[in-house]
Structures are given as structure tokens and as C-alpha cells.
């Protein structure tokens, strides 16, 4: 198809300027930092690709990346199916629709750091409701600050509580857009509820699911605030994800060069996986 004119580009210009200031210029600075060493006072020394080489052979980086990938995988495997199931179970008509929608939206309205603080207090063995219930009433040894497994379970549960709603709301939007005629036709054909899901609901939800998976991947892969407030990366290094390690290096140790190199590798991974998800999920759309 031939494009008739290119005037639309001028409408995009303000956004381009905004993105230049809040993303592009900082990103270019990060690239500049990644090939240099600094001891402060805005004095830099050329270091070439040394930081990248160190980082790619660093066990600390591999461990943080491994934890990050594991976390994101667990999150996607839980939140996407759970979100679909909840969206399917939600009412489509009547008084309960707004009630369910508001209930679903509530966790997402809470700021990240507040979620971290809430869950931190909630799970403390002495004063937290959950911590006290688990340790004293049920007799299960549960202390997020001491046990890495408990810390992981808590962080995953917190994220599922906080963000499954997003998947639910997106899937629900996809479901309510399906015309009744589809269901009537399926009923006449005697289709089972699985067939209705597989051949009507799932294909109709595909586009919103693509968005949901992309958003959940990017958010969980870049998770920082909640985990920082809850565990600070501990106990030990068990919940030190890539983002937390990055901030430790950049702001804790003020090693701008290695931190910049790490940011760029982090960015390259996010970019590639997002591109793969998007391309694979929209591949057949043009057919």
C-alpha cells in the first residue's frame, strides 16, 4: 500500500522530543559511561569494553541474571493462566460486574513501595498477621528474613497478588468483546466448554494476552521497588535480582562503568525477549 503523505510524522514530533529527553539522552550517557572509569568529580578515563568482558565472566552477574530469569518464569507461569481463569469466572452482566472490576483493580492502585512495606509487615513472624498465623497458630517455621525459600515464596505471592489483576482485566476486556453469536453457534454445534475456550475465547483473547504477557514480562524482569523494600536482596543474596544488584553497583559502590555496562546488557535482554514474544505472538495476524 502506498502512503499518500507523511504529515502524520509532525504529530509524532512532540513525543519524540519527550522520549529524547527522558530516555534517549540518559541512554546515550549510559553508553558513554559503559566504556569509561570514573573516580567522581566528572573525570572519566577510557576503559574500552573491559567492563563488558568482566561482567560477562562474573559469577555474581550470572547468579543475579539466573535469579531474575527464574523469577520472571515463575511469575509468567502463575499469573497468565491464573489471570485467564479468573477472567473466565468473572460475571459478564449484572451488579457483580463493577464490584469484581473494582476489587480486581484495587491491588494495582497501591504504589510499589507501599506494597513492599505492607507485605513486609504482613509477613513478620512477631507482629505480622501472616507471619504470626504461620509460626504460632499453624506451627510452620516461616521467616522471610532468615529463610531464602520463604523469601522467594513471599515475593512471588506478593507479585501474584499485585499484578494478576492486570492480566485479569486485559483478558476480561477481550472476553466481553466476543459477540453472543459465537457462543450461540457453539451451543448449536454442541461444543464442549473446553472447545468454546480453545476455539472461541482463546483466539479472541490473543491480542490482549500478547500485551499482558509483554507487560508482565517487562515488569517482572525489571522488578525492583517491592523486593528492595521487602528483603533488600536477602537473606544473603537469595533475592538479589539483576535490578537490585545494578542499583547496589551504581549507587552503593558508585561504580558507574560496570553499572552502565550491566544496564546495557540488561536492556539488550529485555529488548530481545520482548521482540521475540511480540513477533511470535503476532506472526500469523496478517494471514
Amino acid at each position: 500500500m502506498k502512503t499518500q503523505n507523511q504529515k502524520a510524522w509532525f504529530f509524532v514530533l512532540p513525543v519524540l522530543l519527550l522520549v529524547a529527553f527522558n530516555a534517549l539522552i540518559p541512554m546515550m550517557t549510559v553508553v558513554n559511561y559503559s566504556v569509561q572509569e570514573t573516580f567522581g568529580n566528572n573525570v572519566f578515563f577510557w576503559h574500552g569494553v573491559g567492563w563488558f568482558e568482566d561482567l560477562l565472566n562474573s559469577e555474581r552477574f550470572h547468579a543475579a541474571l539466573g535469579r531474575q530469569i527464574l523469577f520472571t518464569t515463575i511469575i509468567l507461569l502463575i499469573e497468565i493462566p491464573l489471570g485467564i481463569v479468573i477472567a473466565l469466572a468473572m460475571p459478564r452482566k449484572g451488579i457483580w460486574v463493577p464490584v469484581c472490576l473494582v476489587l480486581m483493580a484495587l491491588p494495582m492502585l497501591i504504589p510499589w513501595n507501599v506494597v513492599g512495606a505492607m507485605w513486609n509487615i504482613f509477613t513478620l513472624p512477631d507482629i505480622g498477621l501472616l507471619g504470626y498465623l504461620m509460626n504460632t497458630t499453624l506451627g510452620i517455621d516461616y521467616d522471610m528474613t532468615q529463610d531464602p525459600f520463604a523469601a522467594w515464596v513471599t515475593i512471588v505471592t506478593m507479585d501474584v497478588w499485585h499484578w494478576t489483576s492486570l492480566v485479569v482485566l486485559l483478558c476480561y476486556a477481550g472476553l466481553v468483546s466476543i459477540p453472543d453469536a459465537y457462543y450461540q453457534a457453539a451451543k448449536i454445534d454442541g461444543a464442549s466448554s473446553w472447545s468454546v475456550f480453545r476455539y472461541i475465547q482463546l483466539p479472541k483473547m490473543k491480542q490482549v494476552l500478547t500485551i499482558a504477557i509483554l507487560l508482565r514480562f517487562m515488569d517482572s524482569f525489571n522488578i525492583y521497588t517491592e523486593v528492595f523494600v521487602m528483603t533488600g536482596g536477602g537473606p544473603g543474596n537469595s533475592t538479589t535480582f539483576l535490578s537490585i544488584d545494578l542499583v547496589k553497583i551504581a549507587l552503593g559502590q558508585f561504580d558507574l562503568g560496570p553499572a552502565a555496562a550491566m544496564s546495557l546488557i540488561y536492556f539488550a535482554i529485555t529488548l530481545l525477549v520482548s521482540w521475540l514474544f511480540y513477533t511470535l505472538m503476532t506472526k500469523d495476524d496478517g494471514k
Binding site: Q6, M28, T29, V31, N32, A268, T279
Partner: protein, 92 residues
């Protein structure tokens, strides 16, 4: 004014090349609009911009992989990256 960005001539050259590449494909798109879409060897419908994106992203991964496995110097991955870019514009 830009000293806070800690520029080096190497990174400046990198960005000039990057923006020049984007500029060239933008110019071609304005001059001959909508002529680049095709289905390549990956069975994906790509435009000139997609091919540049894939070429650059692939080049970054080639360089990082070489750096992680063999270390410096980076002349071989540079050659591989150029070959990959040519392949992207030719076949993808």
C-alpha cells in the same frame, strides 16, 4: 554543556553512525514510501526499519557473545556483525 554526558569520540562516532542509518532509512521511506515490506527467510513480514533493528540487535549479541567467550580483540565479531547486517537487509 554536554560534559556531564562524558562523551568520547568512539561513542560519538557510534551514535553518529546509528542516527545516520536511521536517517538514511527514513529518507528512503519518505522518497519511496511503502516499498520495503516483504516476507524473508524467517517467514516474518519485515520493513526496512525491522531489518535495521534486527541487524543492530544481532550485532550487539554477536559482540557480547564473542566478548564473553573469547574476549578482546573484537575484529572477528565486527566482521560477523557486518555480515549479519548484510544478511538482514538481503534475506530477512
Amino acid at each position: 554543556m554536554l560534559s556531564w554526558m562524558a562523551w568520547t569520540w568512539q561513542t560519538a562516532a557510534f551514535f553518529i553512525a546509528l542516527f545516520a542509518a536511521i536517517g538514511v532509512i527514513t529518507f528512503i521511506e519518505i522518497r519511496w514510501p511503502g516499498t520495503s515490506e516483504r516476507k524473508g527467510v524467517l517467514r516474518l513480514t519485515t520493513t526496512r526499519g525491522d531489518r535495521l533493528f534486527l541487524g543492530l540487535l544481532g550485532s550487539a549479541y554477536i559482540s557480547l557473545a564473542w566478548l564473553g567467550i573469547f574476549g578482546t580483540p573484537l575484529w572477528v565479531p565486527l566482521g560477523l556483525a557486518i555480515a549479519w547486517l548484510i544478511f538482514c537487509f538481503w534475506k530477512v
